[in-house]
């Protein structure tokens, strides 16, 4: 459910809609740019007490933005990492409920970029890529229990 929540949040914040994909899907990142691919990184922290998992849980994500030009990727990254207010749907410090998941907080830990040449289909191509790393603290909401 957290993956669905992150997918929705990134779609809204980046304004890329259908071009936002999870990395578990096979995503072609050299055609139909810009594209955004998000990957869940290992190491989700779950906090337990004697009553079970009471959260909040912490998950790490890597977001890769591919665009024709690096500046375009940077612009998308800025939209995502800007603080949420009435005019901009940024994710920095975001708090709210999405896809049955209560997000306590989203924060960005690192960002960097590459403009390396990659051999695709036997031809050298330059693919600008902007990488953002984020941590999300969340709690999955339980469906109402049957009496």
């Amino acid at each position: 459910m957290i993956d669905a929540a992150i997918n929705t949040l990134l779609r809204n914040a980046s304004e890329l809609a259908e071009k936002v994909k999870p990395s578990v899907e096979r995503v072609n990142v050299v055609a139909g740019l810009p594209k955004l691919v998000f990957s869940r990184l290992p190491g989700t922290d779950r906090r337990y007490t004697d009553d079970g998992a009471n959260g909040p849980f912490q998950a790490r994500y890597q977001v890769d933005i591919f665009a024709e030009k690096l500046l375009e990727a940077v612009e998308i990254a800025r939209r995502i990492t800007s603080p949420a207010d009435d005019t901009v749907f940024g994710l920095d410090g975001y708090r709210g409920t999405v896809a049955s998941t209560f997000i306590h907080r989203v924060y960005f830990t690192n960002e960097h970029w590459t403009v390396g040449d990659t051999e695709v289909d036997g031809k050298q191509q330059t693919i600008p890529r902007y990488i953002i790393e984020l941590i999300v603290e969340y709690r999955e909401l339980q469906p109402p229990q049957a009496p």
Binding site: S23, V24, R26, V27, N28, V29, V30, A31, V37, S39, L41, P42, G43, R60, Q62, D64, F66, T118, E119, V120, D121, G122, I127, I131, E133
Partner: protein, 145 residues
């Protein structure tokens, strides 16, 4: 990543005010080397293995001067270049490519493993405990001398 270890700040203060600053710097470096070794072992164990080139290449070093030093962990590029010498198509930055993901020759995205970052977070407390242990032991040795 930030982890607070009880006593580390106090121990570093003791080092900074030691009469013999040459010895203090030596202790500081030795402690950092031990702490970095703990994290390196964890990262090595978590490295994905196909031919084992990446795992073998993971190394560490302590950089910086005086009391401001940093432990660095990553692939030893010289070792990767050795494996690339026989096959020019092999990249020499496989640690980065596996950690952050890369674009495959068919244009699809190969997802990041994130193993290095996850292991670094997990082993950070043990690494810092080791630093404290070494500083304490070395200060005790100096006190007896």
């Amino acid at each position: 990543m930030i982890a607070k270890v009880e006593g580390l700040a106090e121990l570093r203060r003791k080092l900074a005010t030691m009469g013999n600053q040459k010895t203090a710097r030596k202790i500081n470096r030795k402690a950092m080397r031990s702490g970095t070794a703990v994290m390196t072992k964890g990262i090595k164990n978590a490295a994905p293995v196909d031919e084992g080139i990446l795992k073998k290449s993971i190394a560490n070093k302590v950089a910086g001067r005086g009391m401001n030093i940093t432990g660095i962990i990553g692939s030893d590029v010289a070792k990767l270049k050795q494996s690339a010498a026989t096959d020019k198509t092999r990249p020499t930055n496989i640690d980065w490519l596996t950690e952050f993901g890369h674009v495959a020759p068919d244009g699809t995205f190969v997802p990041p493993s994130g193993r290095m970052r996850a292991t670094a977070s997990a082993t950070l407390p043990a690494s810092e405990r080791k630093i404290v242990e070494v500083i304490k032991a070395e200060l005790e040795k100096e006190a007896v001398r």
